[in-house]
Every structure is written in structure tokens, then in C-alpha cells.
């Protein structure tokens, strides 16, 4: 332990390749609303509601969903940046925040890159100081931390001699995002959470950063959670995809299965909402009408039933469980649960 802290080498794999790197069980976050100045009744925002998923070693799990669906809350809960209302996060077999895996040691292994590249860098530190900061906190000698910062700048494609002494405001958005990535890698983490890392970048810069992320994943043996609202980017980056709707999992599974044969009607609508690049394939009807409902009072039963084209009375009464769908993914829809009572549910042969 002391030796590892002094040199900050990557921490060893504990459970072997079969054990998921991250397991999330029943994760829930409710934000209470105060009945305040405007006299609104108090309630709770059910930002994330009993979420279960796992991230396997070496994969990229993409998380997609619209604003307010709980993507970012999920990432902050996984990072232990906020206290969950209920549920637990298990990292490589050890509960996060328990005696086996204290927060400081956990955070060495899990790092995050945020969407806003400027707000997430300290404006008064040079790039080199920003990157070297956390290795120093974790016990690396200052000289070694600086050397590591320069190595990482080179690894993310920024010339250390030209950039190390600069301040964040002197960099372009793409360069700043590279610095954020370098900083996230400074502790040799095993899991990196990328929360909309390219959403604020122009297309040509976005492509550079996505290529870089793929290279770094191979070079450092990383596992990614990649959060985005851009379905094409998620398809490009991910091995498995988790689709969220109003704080719940709508569908989760291999990227090929979900993009080729979406089992949940929400996933299908989301995929069909992508503008087509081909003017001859223009859409004529929007796949969904209306906006996502307010997460303060989410619809009862299946949360999607208010916008779903296949909704039946049953859907507003039953919360659909995650169930295996034909193409290999799992979906929370009564249409994939055999004998659920929905008219399109598969019938089990007697």
C-alpha cells in the first residue's frame, strides 16, 4: 500500500476478468423540493429511481437519454460526489465507502471528465499544476507529479513544452478538454466517467477527441462510462448501451442489438428521432409527440406510457421489470415480458 502510494502505479485487478468492475444495485436519488417563496407544494424529484446495472472490465458502457432522465445524477452518484437516497455501488467486488474501499482509495481508481471544459479547470493554476495536483494529494513527490503531468500532456497530443505553463483561458475548447482528460488519467484510474465530453466541441474537434479517447483506452487499459445525448456518438464509442428514461432503465444491452432491434418503444423512438443525413430519407412524422414529463411527478406504472404508441391500460398500473428481449438485450417493457397481459406480449406455449 505505502509503496503503491509513493509511485502511484495502477492498482491491481482484484476479482479477475469475470467480475464486473462496477456494480450498481438499487441506486436511488430523490431531491426534496422545499415549499418555498412561490408557495408551491413540497415534493420530490425522483432523479434516479432504483437503478441496477454493471460495467464490465475493459468495456465502454454508453448511457443515453434526454435531459432530466438522470444521466448526470447517475454519474455523480457513481463518482460518490453526492449521497444516494438508497442503493449501493460496488467496485471490483468491494462496496464503495466501506472499510474495504475508503472513498479516497476509490476515487484514485475512478475519475471523471465533464462537459464544460472551462468550468472544470482551476483558472489560477497552470495546466501542469492542474494535472499534477491530484497525484501530489495522493502522495507522489512534486517532481514526479510534474514529470507525470508532462508525460500525460504528450499522451493527449499537447506538446508539454508549449502547454505546461499555460493557463486554461489561453487554450481552445478542444485543447482544454484534452487537459481534462490528461488530468483524469493522472492517478492511473481503472474507470473513467465521460459525461458529455464532446458535446460542447465543434465537429472537427469532436472527431479528434473521440479518436484520442479510443487510443487512450487501449494504451492505459481503461474502462469507460460514456454519457451522451448524441446517439451516433454513443453507437460509435460503446460496447453496451444503457437507455434511461425519467430516472429508470428503459433498455440495456449490446450496442448492435439495441441499434438494430430496439425492444423498448422509447429506444425505437429515440433512434428514429435522429435527423437523417440523406435528404432523400427525410422524416415525415415525428416518432414522438410532446416533451418528456416532469420528473417531479413521474407517471405511474411504466413512466413512458404517456407518450407510448403501444400503451394499454395495464401500462399505467404495472411497473415493468427488466426482462430479456429477443436480440440479446434487456428491456423494461411489458411487451417483452411473457404473459404480462399486454396484447403484444409474447405468449408462452403450454
Amino acid at each position: 500500500m505505502t509503496e503503491a502510494a509513493a509511485t502511484l502505479e495502477p492498482l491491481p485487478d482484484i476479482g479477475g476478468p469475470a467480475q464486473p468492475l462496477l456494480t450498481v444495485r438499487g441506486l436511488t436519488k430523490h431531491f426534496p423540493l422545499k415549499s418555498g417563496f412561490f408557495g408551491r407544494g413540497a415534493g420530490v424529484v425522483q432523479a434516479v429511481d432504483s437503478l441496477d446495472f454493471e460495467v464490465r472490465k475493459g468495456e465502454t458502457l454508453g448511457i443515453v437519454g434526454e435531459s432530466g432522465c438522470g444521466k448526470s445524477t447517475t454519474s455523480r452518484l457513481v463518482m460518490a460526489l453526492m449521497q444516494p437516497t438508497a442503493g449501493e455501488v460496488v467496485f471490483d467486488g468491494r462496496a464503495v465507502g466501506g472499510r474495504e474501499l475508503p472513498l479516497k482509495e476509490y476515487r484514485r481508481q475512478v475519475q471523471m471528465v465533464f462537459q464544460d471544459s472551462y468550468a472544470s479547470l482551476n483558472p489560477r493554476l497552470t495546466i501542469e499544476e492542474s494535472i499534477a495536483f491530484s497525484p501530489e494529494v495522493h502522495g507522489l513527490a512534486r517532481h514526479d507529479a510534474r514529470a507525470r503531468a508532462r508525460d500525460l500532456l504528450a499522451a493527449v497530443g499537447l506538446n508539454p513544452d508549449g502547454f505546461a505553463r499555460r493557463y486554461p483561458h489561453e487554450l481552445s475548447g478542444g485543447q482544454r478538454q484534452r487537459v481534462n482528460i490528461a488530468r483524469a488519467l493522472a492517478l492511473r484510474p481503472r474507470l473513467v466517467i465521460l459525461d458529455e465530453p464532446v458535446s460542447a466541441l465543434d465537429k472537427s474537434v469532436e472527431a479528434q477527441v473521440l479518436n484520442l479517447l479510443q487510443d487512450l483506452k487501449a494504451e492505459f487499459g481503461l474502462t469507460y462510462i460514456f454519457i451522451s445525448h448524441d446517439l451516433n456518438v454513443v453507437q460509435y464509442m460503446s460496447d453496451r448501451v444503457l437507455v434511461m428514461y425519467l430516472g429508470k432503465v428503459a433498455e440495456v444491452g449490446p450496442v448492435e442489438a439495441i441499434y438494430a432491434a430496439a425492444a423498448h418503444p422509447y429506444t425505437a423512438a429515440l433512434l428514429a428521432s435522429r435527423p437523417s443525413m440523406d435528404p432523400d430519407l427525410r422524416r415525415t412524422e415525428p416518432p414522438l409527440t410532446g416533451d418528456p414529463p416532469n420528473p417531479i411527478n413521474p407517471p405511474a406504472g411504466c413512466r413512458f406510457h404517456t407518450r407510448c404508441g403501444f400503451a394499454e391500460p395495464l401500462c399505467s398500473a404495472t411497473v415493468p421489470p427488466l426482462h430479456a428481449a429477443p436480440a440479446g438485450q434487456q428491456a423494461a417493457c411489458l411487451m417483452v415480458v411473457p404473459e404480462s397481459g399486454h396484447s403484444r406480449a409474447p405468449k408462452v406455449a403450454a
Binding site: Y259, M277, G290, P292
Partner: protein, 328 residues
Amino acid sequence: MNEPLVHVRDLHVRFVSRDATVHAVNGVSFDLAERESLCILGESGSGKSVTLRALMALNPPRRTKLSGTVRVGGHDIIAASERKMADIRGSTVSMIFQEPMTALDPVFTIGRQIAETVMRHEDVSRAAAEARALELLELVQIPSAKRRLAAYPHELSGGLRQRAMIAIALSCRPKLLLADEPTTALDATVQIQILLLLRRLQQEMGMGVIFVTHDLGVAGEIADRVAVMYAGKFIEEGPVRGLMRNPLHPYAQGLLGATVHAGMRGERLTTIPGAPPNLERVPQGCAFAPRCPHMREECLPKVPDSRSPVPGHAARCVLVPDAMSQAA
């Protein structure tokens, strides 16, 4: 009268401040026919929004130096007084913005804001204006429109707010609608609803539309013609099919290659190295040359002329063959 709806020739826009002069738009020329939709594609800082604002004289008057010709619906926009512009805005040309929450006034109801615009331009009573407001909300497909007339902007969701802003922009039946990234702030399922609504309204009302976007998908969904902007110039312009399938300019090719679309998993993305030029100095020659994989010596001394290998599709690049002049 054969004048096109929009006629822009050699438009230059500079922003002058004490520290620096930024050459945001450097010689843009184009025409837009009635009922036509043009999409201006470009990355941040390419001058696309500034060009759009110049069509409505919305750039800050004290710091902006304009030159060239801008005519919209027969009006000379550059010469028009502020009083004249107030008449032109709304009835001839109007605009929708990216962020409806900042474009709408938070202290007035939606109905009041629409009625105000109608009363400013048409000599009607408040009752008639409010009746018109209700029609407009129904036109943009706001559910339970009557109730929403009395709603304040903060009470509406993002999609409904954007619809309300479209209703205000259309309230005086403009001939030209300008849209500055109107769907960028919206969720995917709402974005496609707004795009389809705008396309339908454009056809029903017979408007010309100019869209500014950085999203190729939006252009593919709505445009008749596309112009690609780089460092304050149109570097390529053409019909949407031709430009999306067969881009001529290396920058347009790079932009299309760098955009992730379905089914690219496992491939490496093509990137454009480097960054756009600083516009505090007007670039000599082709502004893209420092990043261009095909750069030659002839790119540097002067800006390449626009060359057109097929009618209606032109690019400013020395590599593009000029079929039109060879045939002549």
C-alpha cells in the same frame, strides 16, 4: 419584379473595439429565392450567426462596421434607419433564436407577447390581436392553446417555449424567416418535432428560410441549398444532395468525414488537424490552406475564385475543376 427575396453582395462585417478588430465576415454573396430554404453550416466562429444577424441589422450598431449590399424583400438593410428597421423586422423578416428562455420576455404572458407584435405591425384592436395569438399557438401545435396564452415562459417546457417563439416570429407573416440554431438546445425527440414543424410551416406559408447550424443532420432534414462557411467566407455552396454526397472543398469533405454517423463503429474518424484561423487579421489567400492536406503554392497569394463543376454547386478551391468556363 424579379428581385430575389434576399440579395447579398460582398458583405463584410468587422467588429471594432479598442483592442482589436475582428473580421467576422469577409465577402459573402448569395441570393435566396422566395420559398427557398438555405442552410448555412459552419463551426463556431465561422461567421454564420453574424451573417444571419446582418440580414436583420441585429449586430451591435456602435461596434459593427458593415460594407457591401444587403437587400431583403426590396429593402436596403444597410442603409435603413433604426425606425425603418423596426417596420421591416417582424413583417418582412423575423428570427428565431437558439435559447427561447432568453429570447422571450419573462414578465409577460405568451399571449401578450404575441399580441404586442401583431398590434405593432397591423392596425388591429387588442381583442383581434389576441384572437390571432390563439390561432398562432394552434398553428405551431401547442396543446391546449387557450390555456397557454396566459402562461409565462418559465411555465412552459423547452419544446413549447421554442414553439411559442416560432409563433411570435410568424405573427406578421414574414416573407423571410431566419433561424439561428433553433433546435440545438432541444432533446432529440423534441428536435425532430420542431424541424418537421418548421418545414411544414415554410411550405404552407411560402416563406424563405435561412437556417444556421453546425449540425449536418439538421441541414439534411430541412435545406434545399447548403452553404459551408469558414473564416467568414462561403467556401462551398450547392444543392443539399450534391453537397452532402459529393462535397468539393477539402474543408467540407473533412467536416462530413469528421461527423459521426450511424454504422461507423470500428472505423477511425477522419479529423481536420489544427484550428480555425484567428480573425483579427484577414487571412491572405485560402484561409483553410494551413490545415489543408492538398495545400499548394497557388493557394497562398490570393483567395481562390469560386469554381463550379456542375451548375448551382460551387466551391472556392484551386483543386475544383471549373467545367463552366471550360465549356465556354
